[in-house]
Amino acid sequence: MNSFEIAPGQAARLRETFAEIQDAEALLWPAADRSRRKRMSAGMLYAAACAGHRPESESLGARRFYRQAVADTARFALPLARAASSSLAPARHGDGCNIRIERSRAEPDQYFVLVELAKGAHTSPTSLIVCDAEDRCQRFALPVARDGISQIVAESDSELMRLISDPASKVYLR
């Protein structure tokens, strides 16, 4: 027999504790429907940002968190474009790094995205991440820099040119 003394006034605390246990169990109870779209936790989004992976179709809040994690872990941040230096894409100036766009003379539909590092940069970044105004981020591999300049050749209708030409987009280098 389990017999317990109930002190005057203890019932209220007991009710509270009982509700707490029941609610906590309900949180822990694995939901029957696992087929629903899975959300990523803050930790998993952070891990994806560090590893350069792009999370699949996440909500605006998650994208915003992911973009902030990219910004926090980037070596260079070039958030807003300055006045346009070409007809298509504005140049970007960051601390220790610039990005400018040049049209190819040989192929009119091609552009060079030139990433220039300040002298004295120890290692060159390996990826360029561009996030649009809705915080959808895309990662592009950066070739090894020569004389402090790394360049990507992009078609005029490419995703990179669409993103980087948007003055509201933010660019990060890692």
Partner: protein, 528 residues
């Protein structure tokens, strides 16, 4: 909570607390294992999130102190996320390592902080605080929950709160202010996600029922109360399922124990930081709301490195003891009610499934007869058989732990049976006086034979050269001891059921009662 109530809970809180919590419980480390241990980390977090009583915001205060220490250990922009959200499994050792790595880059950036053997000690101008490494996995889970809740909408504000706290972080009041700001926001979240679905009515029904059959000023909970309550209240939606009723009683017993403990703690000291006024700081035990809360040994075996060893087969060895291990001490407090759950719980679940998939009245009628219910004697005998298997596994684990030892001194002095030797060896107990060499030899031969007779994953001689495998056996050994003790205690409790009345007689009577009740509940007759 029955399936319907759970569904209601989940439906009511969809995209809210349940979903926010599920994201965390689904999160994995790079090796695919859960990022947070279910017990104690997730259970403690769940209890904290739904807590309405005193000290409900204490963990925010602890978190703020830890954030303050993290800010003082590193200047990197992402220092907080790197510390709290690093992808590996959240463990005390991992947080110790992260802190040490940050400090290796340049030590503490501010004065007043020190890294101790147990954790981080912070000395403020107006007080002091310590956060232990053991507490950090819980605080990391809380940080991650706060960061991700309500689709990350609170995250920017959370960072602002921490940034502003850091500006005045030499002062404990700044920490308190930050903690209060988080608590204030979280209270709104808690209110909007929890209040509409909380069901206080359940408690009132249960407490009223028990008080009416107990002497004044006391509450008595026994096996008969569980069955009587179900018989009386099952017509109402909340308590239709016997399993739900059994769980409600288990929760009630836990609430009684916790309530009694908190009453006595309140008399002993209040929790706070003002030592001069006799208040005490929370430590690791603050996360342990439930005192010595039971953890199923099977859950322990599911975690690496023990998970790499197949101790039990799923269907024949693990499944029969799963519920007994899940309920732990509660099954011992209500042994007959538990046996009823084992025998008739599956029958009721099957009826529910029949109704859901439209199998028809004939199927429900057949099940409601309870002809397919497992007799009590068979269930108890099954536990006895699993106990024998566990003893064999204990011998095998003993061999795994001592095969490479120069001598098997640790704890062997108390050797009377291989199981007792195993217990001591698992604990790596210091040796005082060794038994005779022949005794040791006999034990090792017996253990080796047991080990070699098991042809399952992990039970191979070659694998015993692997440190991780040995650690798996050491952890598994603890779980086997706990599982064996639980079965032994339950067998003893089952032996006392009815005193003199045989279990089969009791089973036949209960089968009649459950069958009648199922027929009434599901509106079928077994005589058609």
């Amino acid at each position: 909570m029955n399936a319907a109530a759970r569904s209601l809970f989940i439906a009511g809180a969809e995209a809210g607390m349940v979903e926010d919590f599920r994201v965390l419980s689904d999160a994995t480390a790079p090796d695919g294992s859960p990022r947070y241990q279910e017990r104690p980390v997730l259970t403690d977090l769940a209890r904290f999130l739904v807590r309405a009583g005193p000290n409900r915001d204490m963990a925010f205060y602890e978190l703020c102190h830890l954030v303050n220490a993290v800010d003082a250990s590193d200047r990197a922009r992402d220092r907080r996320n790197a510390f709290f959200l690093g992808p590996e499994r959240a463990s005390a050792a991992r947080f110790r390592q992260r802190l040490d790595m940050a400090l290796a880059k340049g030590g503490w950036r501010r004065t007043g902080f020190s890294r101790t053997e147990q954790g981080v000690a912070i000395r403020y101008a107006d007080g002091a605080f310590t956060v232990s490494f053991g507490r950090m996995p819980f605080l990391a889970a809380l940080y991650e929950f706060l960061a991700g809740m309500e689709d990350f909408s609170f995250y920017p504000e959370l960072q602002i709160i921490f940034d502003e706290m850091a500006q005045g972080a030499g002062d404990i009041k700044a920490v308190q202010t930050a903690s209060n700001r988080i608590a204030s926001h979280f209270r709104q979240y808690r209110r909007s996600h929890l209040a509409p679905i909380r069901q206080d009515g359940k408690f009132d029904l249960l407490f009223g029922f028990l008080a009416a059959r107990s002497p004044a000023g006391r509450v008595q909970v026994d096996d008969a109360a569980v069955l009587d309550f179900w018989s009386e209240k099952s017509a109402s939606g909340d308590f239709r399922s016997y399993r739900t009723v059994f769980e409600a009683f288990v929760h009630f017993l836990r609430a009684l124990a916790e309530s009694a403990r908190s009453e006595s703690m309140a008399r002993a000291a209040s929790i706070g930081v003002d030592r001069e006024n006799g208040e005490v700081e929370p430590d690791d035990s603050a996360a342990d709301f439930d005192g010595a809360e039971w953890v199923s040994p099977l859950k322990v075996l599911d975690e690496e490195p023990a998970a790499a060893i197949k101790f039990f087969t799923k269907e024949n060895e693990r499944k029969p003891i799963e519920i007994l291990m899940q309920y732990g001490p509660a099954a011992l407090r209500l042994p007959l009610a538990f046996l009823r759950l084992e025998a008739f719980g599956p029958v009721q679940s099957a009826i529910t499934t029949d109704l859901q998939v439209g199998r028809g009245a004939d199927s429900v009628r057949l099940r409601a007869s309870c002809d397919e219910a497992a007799p009590y004697g068979k269930i108890v005998a099954g536990f006895g058989e699993i106990l024998e298997i566990i003893r064999r596994l204990q011998k095998a684990a003993f061999y795994a732990l001592h095969r490479n030892a120069q001598n098997i001194s640790p704890g062997v002095h108390a050797l009377r049976t291989p199981e007792s030797a195993f217990d001591l060896a698992r604990e790596n107990a210091a040796d005082k006086d060794l038994p005779a060499p022949q005794e040791i030899e006999r034990l090792m031969a017996e253990s080796a034979k047991a080990f070699r007779s098991i042809s399952r994953k992990g039970f191979d001689e070659a694998g015993l050269r692997d440190e991780s495998r040995i650690e798996g056996f050491r952890i598994g050994a603890g779980a086997l001891v706990a599982a064996a003790a639980q079965i032994e205690r339950y067998l003893a409790a089952a032996g006392r059921i009815g005193r003199g009345e045989n279990l089969e007689g009791r089973f036949h009577e209960d089968r009649r009662v459950f069958s009648q009740k199922f027929c009434a509940l599901y509106e079928v007759s077994t005589h058609e």
